[in-house]
């Protein structure tokens, strides 16, 4: 047993699954001798050989398109997009192809694969190394979307993702890559997609989050409890599509108050979907407005990054507002 960072846990999951699934192939930019710019594939080329760990030309539509072809023919491609900000050149392959192949072919052709990519802010990366585009993917039927929040969770969820029969977008909150270590067991364990995780129990306000924002939510929840005796229930969604609606339902029916915390720009972010779901299903349970704590509707900044990102402070103020409504 060993304590690992999140990025080490990614690498561990890939390494073990490469060992178990002889059809698994990793591809991306700089994933080979360099071991990935974040070292998420460190040592894999040396261990599993150049047929299984492929440095590709600089072309994201190439990477995803090539992976689709591999997948159609029975391989299990795991593609790395170096920063998710660079996934846009591959949007057509993702949205028109990977997401629709099964449906359009009447179920004849399928494209299971994992696209993993670091996402999110907090590392002084500016517009093009900090974005959180998960909402685009959640609005694209045919894709599953998974976002882990700790090293342990990462290995279990990524292992599941690599065994899914559908294309999975696996977004890794890069500011957590080396933020802390956690026990990550060896060997085959999985966390099923579509099940959320209750991180903190509380009866007053439900906080929904995923990725790095789980920790922001927790921090805010702890302050709210200590300073204001407000008990928040914090739910780590883990999988955005398919969503664990039951866990959300139970919690909001209990607390009657809901806030979601996400980094992406506010308008049409995944937070909006969470608000909408609650507002159409359980509005009669709600004792205050359904709120969002989000990034602002601007490109991702640099010098004011800390002002842009949701913080425990902003979350706390929102908790107070909803609670005292």
């Amino acid at each position: 047993m060993s304590e690992l960072t999140m990025v080490e846990s990614v690498c561990f999951a890939l390494d073990e699954e490469l060992g178990r699934n002889s059809k698994l192939v990793i591809l991306g930019e700089d994933v080979g001798p360099n071991g990935g710019v974040f070292r998420a594939t460190q040592g894999l080329l040396e261990k599993h050989g150049p047929k299984r760990v492929l440095d590709t030309p600089l072309s994201e539509n190439g990477i995803i398109g090539f992976a689709i072809g591999m997948s159609l023919m029975g391989l299990t491609p795991v593609a790395e997009i170096q920063f998710v900000d660079f996934i846009y050149p591959a949007f057509d392959q993702l949205i028109s192809e990977a997401a629709k192949f099964r449906y359009r072919s009447g179920g004849m052709f399928t494209t299971p694969m994992v696209i993993r990519s670091p996402y999110g802010g907090g590392v002084r990366g500016a517009h093009y190394h900090s974005q959180s585009p998960e909402a685009y993917f959640t609005h694209t039927p045919g894709l599953k979307v998974v976002i882990p929040s700790t090293p342990y969770e990462t290995k279990g969820l990524l292992t599941s993702a690599m065994r899914e029969d559908d294309p999975v977008i696996f977004l890794e909150p890069k500011r957590l890559y080396r933020a802390f270590k956690e026990e990550v067991p060896k060997g085959d364990y999985t966390i099923p997609l579509g099940e959320a995780r209750k991180v903190r129990v509380g009866g007053d306000v439900t906080l929904l989050a995923y990725g790095a924002m789980v920790h922001v939510a927790l921090e805010a929840a702890n302050i709210a409890s200590t300073n204001h005796q407000i008990e928040c229930e914090v739910i780590d969604l883990r999988t955005l599509v398919p969503l664990d609606i039951k866990t959300i339902e139970k919690s909001v029916k209990k607390t009657g108050r809901m806030i979601s915390i996400t980094e992406a720009p506010k308008t049409s972010g995944f937070s909006a979907e969470l608000s909408a779901l609650v507002a159409e299903r359980w509005i009669e349970y709600m004792e205050g407005p359904i709120m969002r704590v989000t990034g602002y509707d601007t490109p991702f900044p640099l010098s004011l990054e800390q002002e842009y990102l949701p913080t425990a402070q902003r979350t706390l103020e929102t908790i107070m507002k909803v609670y005292n409504f």
Partner: protein, 358 residues
């Protein structure tokens, strides 16, 4: 770069290049060329009559598709654009599947989800095509990698038009194919037009085949209305691919004799004389002459092929037209491998609504 040709306009073959193909196979090739043209006529007529919604002809481009499929083995994979339906039928796809697909009925193997003409078949290794132009090109390169990885001695051939050479996936497809030396054949059907945009607006290059060198690939230009020449260059490319020497880029020079699709009116943009010129190079009549000169087929034989397909199709059409649309459930299935709760909920809602308003 000179263009490879074998048959002249009178159907005489260059004896140095003439491939050695059995009589049976040659006649089969002609049969399927005739079928393709017949399907175009039927499809367009049904569309004009409002009985199906859409049709994509490949009239004038029969030699490319049939010449290529005849040069492949049945295990090789085909990534079509949408002007290669003959390749699937040549391999045995039942015409019934096509006709049900035209009518997007409950027996449509695509479950009524695609525009008529955009069909695939896993059994016959004819990949379900997209509509966005060019996406299949890079996919075929990736498929080639899989064959290589799995040590399957297979080839992928991917078709696309002159317009598609401008797409991003053309660029990444040829580039990845070359870098990873995949057993992929990039087959460009240069039919001179991308809807109303002529080749001169598509590229500044003298010839599309000039693109091959920029990827370090061998390029071949072939008379796309000459089925024997197409057969030969594809055979050659298959040999290279199977020897581990990587992809070949083939530019087949041909002509879209019909409209782009049933939605298009080419008289708006295309000079009549151009069509007249190309009609003289019609791929079917050249090949018919060749086979007649060889004594492999007669005029009556040709007419018989046609009328036998025609009868078969007419029967299938009248059957297919009677069938119902696919069930409501097919609206929600195959989005994912399983039905997640939200799709189940949406299905139930719709089902209940239908029930209340039945």
């Amino acid at each position: 770069m000179s263009m490879i040709k074998i048959l002249d306009s009178t159907g005489k073959a260059d004896p140095e290049l003439e491939p050695n193909i059995s009589k049976e196979k040659l006649v089969k090739m002609l049969e399927y060329m005739i079928l393709v043209r017949l399907l175009d006529e039927k499809g367009m007529r049904l569309q004009r009559q409002g009985r199906i919604s859409f049709s994509i002809p490949s009239t004038g481009q029969e030699a490319t598709q049939i010449g290529a499929v005849a040069a492949l083995s049945p295990e090789d994979w085909i990534f079509p654009a949408y002007r290669e339906p003959g390749m699937a039928f040549y391999r045995g796809l039942p015409l019934e599947d096509l006709v049900n697909h035209w009518f997007i009925n409950e027996k449509d193997p695509q479950k009524g989800r695609r525009l008529p003409g955009l069909f695939g078949s896993k059994q016959f290794r004819y990949v379900n095509p997209s509509a966005p132009i060019g996406t299949q090109i890079i996919q075929a390169a990736g498929a080639g990698y899989a064959h290589k990885y799995l040590s399957e001695n297979l080839v992928d051939i991917v078709f696309f038009g002159d317009g598609a050479t401008s797409s991003s996936d053309f660029h990444s497809g040829l580039n990845f194919g070359a870098v990873f030396k995949t057993p992929t054949i990039f087959f460009c059907q240069n039919n001179q037009w991308a809807i109303s945009v002529p080749l001169s607006r598509q590229t500044g290059a003298t010839s599309l085949v000039d693109k091959a060198q920029g990827y370090g690939l061998p390029g071949v230009q072939v008379d796309g209305n000459d089925i024997l020449a197409v057969y030969n260059v594809v055979k050659e490319a298959v040999k290279r691919a199977k020897a581990g020497d990587g992809p070949t880029f083939i530019e087949a020079v041909t002509y879209r004799a019909g409209p782009h699709t049933s939605s298009d009116d080419p008289t708006r943009y295309r000079p009549k004389e151009e069509l007249e010129k190309w009609k003289k190079l019609d791929p079917i009549s050249r090949f018919e002459k060749y086979l007649r000169a060889k004594g492999y087929i007669t005029q009556e034989g040709i007419e018989e092929i046609r009328s036998s397909f025609d009868n078969k199709l007419n029967n299938l059409i009248s059957e297919a037209e009677k069938l119902k649309p696919p069930s409501l459930k097919t609206l929600f299935s195959d989005v994912y491998s399983e039905l997640p709760w939200h799709l189940e909920e949406q299905f139930n809602e719709l089902n209940a609504l239908k029930g209340r308003n039945a």
